[in-house]
Symmetry: C2
Subunit: 381 residues, 2 copies
């Protein structure tokens, strides 16, 4: 596909031998200019050292120049040593790039509880060739994802490129959602941070694969200003479009998934309640199982909605599946076979109107399949 | 097993034809004396009419005489008609028993969104023979449960008998957790209600099968006083023992489950945080999958803990699986094969010490299996 990064950015990767498969597993993303940045990280209390380090850098407010990512090892639950190894990874990357360690963000994804092989990272970093293209980086950050995730947009001449990896597992533990968006637009850091929070809330935080939030999740937006100023409103629309595309790719590529589920909730009392309701439906194990079986089991949607905390009256709410109305304050007559056929799609849409107010929101999920269980249970037996 | 109900209670059931299988599906539980009662119901906003009716009766504070339960139809999301049908079920049961409808609690479990066949209930009720034994009732309230759930205790001469059905699904929708405890102890209604809240918090509310809370869940405690007074502290210990045994039976018999998971959290800052942490572990799809595969993936336990909201320091927390320490603020050396073998049990215990305070709590779950997905996805295809 050869997606070119925004001007001033370069990226590359190598096989450092961290992944047992021998695939690329160490990646760099670099900006020629100091970049304003915005960052969102997992709220998991067992967060990895890279997350703690990232939060401290973020609090300093200083510009960012590079990100170093390893896949195959989350460097999480590795004790005090994990913090040292993470710092060492930043130092080594800084050395390779001629930067100070405080200009380099670290990210790790892969197995929990295994010490990070820093010597492999030390040997691998000098081997990374940097190019203006996204692909090598996008591939090296994957764990059990089945495909790289790249999306792009252009806003008034400036470019936005997003690279992500999804929720998948790697023996013997969970992987992570990582997202990196880079742009050559010039955006003041404060505006960047406020805008990013809102985008993340509406996109990456609305993805659910199995309800297990990783210890290493992060979403980053770097703006190096190489292109110049752009209208802010349009800029964030572009950022959100890229983030949303990546969010959908992550959900579609969830462990064992055969299809993408997009849940759209309208008519909620607030936007936050709409998002919460959408997440509850996208995350319901029962509805995810029904989706897999092409069974238009709307009772499960209603039950999930009832557990979401969003306000609604079951005697008024409306549920539409793939354009087919199933429920409207009571049972609607519908053709079960037709609805089942409509569910045999790559992407299935659930639309819910709560009829309480103006709040709207989306969530992105996938079906729950026997392969999910197999992938996460049976490889050791 | 022939478990005799406490004095003054009688129960019975019949085949009313609500379950497509033709198995018993309509049940009565009756007290000869007006009983004090305590009640806990689902918080699901799409709760069934029986739950709304139960809450209103509960608020009235009047004594209870009987419960009528149907299985095979949840009478949920059935519109205004559902409320009328539920009221009618109470009236018909009251007529059969010579009571007023306000003395009869209703409960329904089974398919969502299908009108309740009240005429079948009308025909079935007169056929129910009442006996002093628990079994017929316990069997008739099941849906896809694989076995009836009965537990009992004796406290200073008074008896407590509990009857429950578990979380399972019935085509095309979810079933419900229902629990009915009856005792001949004499307990003032206010004490009964306060004590029951606490017991339910520690037992039934700590059961998770798939994270989907039903629209019809309820847990009831009826005390008719036929035996007389007993020491209250011992009484509630007995009630809790019965409730805990039923909670474990429900988790063990979760859809597709091959084993029971008991999670015990100690050293939490508060008891509530301990319970929350235990629930998060018992509910983690990743850890449930690992449990199925006999994979001692403690990283998943730590990650679930980190998402629970309970306070802890990952550099201090301790995780023990089936008596084998796996993690203590860092990786512990342990024999993976031995740990895997220890997981091949009917009941697997996870013990977590958060090392924050004195709070302790348990949760009850099961493994996530391919059968769960099959049962809930594939029967329509």
């Amino acid at each position: 596909m050869a997606v070119r990064l925004p001007r001033g950015f370069r990226a590359g990767a190598t096989r450092a031998g961290i992944k047992p498969s021998g695939r690329p597993d160490l990646a760099l993303l670099v900006s020629g200019l100091p970049a304003a940045w915005a960052y969102a990280a997992t709220q998991n209390r067992a967060a990895a050292p890279s997350i703690h380090r990232g939060r401290a850098l973020y609090a300093s407010g200083k510009p960012l120049r590079a990100v170093v990512v390893n896949a195959g090892n989350a460097n999480c639950a590795t004790g005090e040593r994990g913090y040292e190894d993470d710092r060492r990874m930043a130092e080594l990357a800084a050395l390779r790039l001629g930067l100070s360690p405080e200009e380099v963000l670290t990210a790790s994804t892969g197995v929990i509880g295994v010490p990070l092989p820093v010597e492999k990272i030390a040997r691998g970093l000098p081997e990374i060739g940097l190019t203006p293209f996204a692909e090598a980086f996008a591939e090296a950050i994957l764990t059990t994802d089945t495909r790289p995730k790249v999306a792009e947009a252009e806003v008034a001449g400036a470019r936005i490129v997003g690279l992500a990896k999804g929720s998948g597992m790697i023996h013997p533990n969970m992987a992570t959602m990582l997202a990196f968006l880079v742009t050559d637009a010039l955006v003041p850091q404060e505006a960047l941070r406020a805008g990013w929070r809102r985008v993340v809330e509406r996109t990456f935080n609305q993805v659910t694969v199995d309800g297990d939030t990783s210890t290493n999740d992060l979403a980053l937006l770097m703006a190096n200003g190489a292109y110049g100023e752009v209208p802010l409103k349009a800029f964030f629309e572009g950022v959100e479009a890229v983030a949303q595309e990546l969010a959908r790719m992550i959900a579609r590529d969830g462990e064992g998934a055969t299809k993408l589920m997009v849940v759209r909730v309208v008519g909620a009392a607030t936007e936050e309640e709409a998002r919460r309701a959408a997440r509850a439906i996208a995350g319901s194990a029962l509805w995810k199982s029904a989706l897999y079986g092409n069974d238009p089991n709307w009772g499960r949607i209603l039950a999930a909605l009832g557990n979401s905390g969003a306000r609604f009256d079951p005697l008024r709410v409306r549920i539409v599946l793939q354009g087919i109305p199933l429920y409207e304050g009571g049972v609607l007559p519908f053709d079960r076979e037709e609805a089942g056929r409509a569910m045999r799609a790559e992407e299935v849409e659930v639309l819910v109107d709560l009829r309480e107010g103006q709040g709207a929101g989306e969530a992105y999920g996938c079906d729950l399949t026997e392969d999910y269980v197999r992938i996460n249970a049976l490889y050791t037996t």
